[in-house]
């Protein structure tokens, strides 16, 4: 697969369903957020301490889950090519819910807001959480202009991204606990 074709030098690109759009098209912004999230997860995996290396396969599974979401974001659902895209599997969301439950069971109860940060991997997890929320907001905005019930892929993508940002929050707390880094609660006066 050739990466540099120069076909986008004019600031335009083709959506998956063929429309030529400027590169700041809202659908590209949305799939760009998902792409950015995927890259941040790559940074998180690279920053995992040895004692949390077991998180890597789960995070790579999330990275794989994000690819079809990005593809659906740039596809017109009526295009035949869209029929070839894999449907978004609700099992991905269920897997996140199980992981959240498993991690929460080992964490102390949350009694206040926390300052994002801690060990490097936890800081990456917080960054992933915020990029994930941005991708979710962008997806909601995309749906505003569409009358009627949202298509199945968008409903499932919203569920997945909503759960994924919760997952990153709980993962950040877990990583700090594993690394022995104390969480910093927010205080009204620093």
């Amino acid at each position: 697969m050739k990466v540099a074709t120069g076909s986008g030098d004019g600031g335009r690109t083709s959506l998956f369903s063929g429309e030529r759009v400027l590169k700041d098209d809202e659908r590209l912004e949305a799939s760009g957020d998902v792409d950015e999230l995927n890259a941040v997860i790559g940074g998180l995996i690279a920053a995992l301490p040895p004692e949390a290396a077991s998180c890597a396969p789960e995070l790579r599974a999330v990275q794989s889950d994000l690819f079809p979401i990005g593809a659906w974001l740039s596809a017109d659902g009526s295009a035949p090519s869209a029929a070839l895209l894999p449907p978004l599997d609700p099992e991905g969301t269920a897997r996140l819910e199980r992981a959240i439950g498993r991690m929460e069971a080992a964490l102390p109860e949350l009694r206040s807001f926390l300052l994002p940060g801690g060990c490097p991997a936890a800081a990456w997890a917080h960054l992933a959480r915020t990029v994930c929320r941005r991708a979710e907001r962008r997806l909601v905005r995309l749906g505003r202009g569409s009358p009627g019930e949202a298509p199945a892929w968008r409903r499932e993508a919203l569920r997945y991204l909503n759960r994924l940002s919760d997952y990153f929050f709980v993962l950040a707390r877990t990583l700090n606990r594993v690394a022995g880094v104390e969480e910093t609660p927010w205080r009204r006066e620093a």
């Binding site: 050739k2 074709t5 120069g6 076909s7 030098d9 004019g10 335009r12 083709s14 998956f16 369903s17 063929g18 429309e19 030529r20 295009a79 035949p80 090519s81 029929a83 070839l84 895209l85």
Partner: protein
């Protein structure tokens, strides 16, 4: 223009298969047409590809035959020193070839707009498959060095609303139905104003240049691309 079969549900992605090479024909000194056994139940959409594996290397080849034909036909350009093409261009009939598929999303999207197919060299394969599946009324620009590189012309020209071979190295006089120059020249000079869906398959340089022309002349067009190196 477009048969209902193109709106069929997505075909299942088959796992890896071992396909028997049934026949090989030379279309030019560098390009060969290979017929591979089609496994029972193997379904694909015109424009999709087979992924062939040999010696730990994989390459994608677009299926040139139609979904209704009994074999899987691919076009292979022999690349000297290449990883797979020398093997495919020399393997005797009966050779078992590891393949998976179908892959890819470069499929025909029926629409009220006129489809414009633009291909260079073996990039004609997906359009041969689309025409074999019943697509009609398309404009086709096929680029090649000389007239001998206009593969499948006899099959495609009667099925096209307009066919034009674009020959970059052909001596004068040019054969009927051809013009000197490249596909991008034809896109720039021969298409009237109108609503089009463009399908581009060929080298990345051709696609990049074609997109510049399309963006300038037909900014509302839909464009589907399948670049290869």
């Amino acid at each position: 223009m477009a048969p209902g079969s193109l709106n069929a549900p997505a075909p299942p992605i088959a796992g890896r298969q071992t396909l028997r090479l049934l026949a090989r024909r030379s279309l030019s000194p560098e390009v060969f047409e290979l017929d591979l056994e089609r496994p029972p139940g193997f379904r694909f959409l015109p424009g999709q590809q087979l992924r062939i594996r040999e010696g730990g290397v994989e390459r994608d080849y677009t299926i040139a035959s139609g979904p209704g034909e009994g074999v899987l036909r691919i076009l292979v350009r022999r690349v000297p020193g290449g990883s797979i093409s020398p093997f495919l261009c020399e393997a005797p009939p009966g050779t078992a070839i590891a393949a998976s598929g179908p892959h890819g999303y470069f499929v025909f999207a029926p629409a009220p707009r006129t489809p414009v197919f633009a291909a260079t060299g073996v990039g004609i394969a997906p359009f041969r498959s689309m025409a074999a599946s019943g697509v009609r009324g398309f404009v086709l620009f096929h680029g090649a060095g000389r007239a001998g590189g206009l593969f499948y012309r006899e099959f495609l020209e009667p099925r096209a609303a307009r066919y034009r071979g674009c020959l970059s190295r052909q001596a004068q006089p040019l054969p009927a139905g051809t013009r000197p120059g490249r596909v991008t020249d034809a896109l720039r000079e021969e298409l009237a104003e109108g609503d089009y869906d463009f399908y581009l398959c060929g080298r990345g340089e051709m696609i990049a240049q074609a997109l510049q022309v399309i963006d300038a002349r037909f900014p509302r067009a839909r464009v589907f691309t399948e670049p290869f190196s």
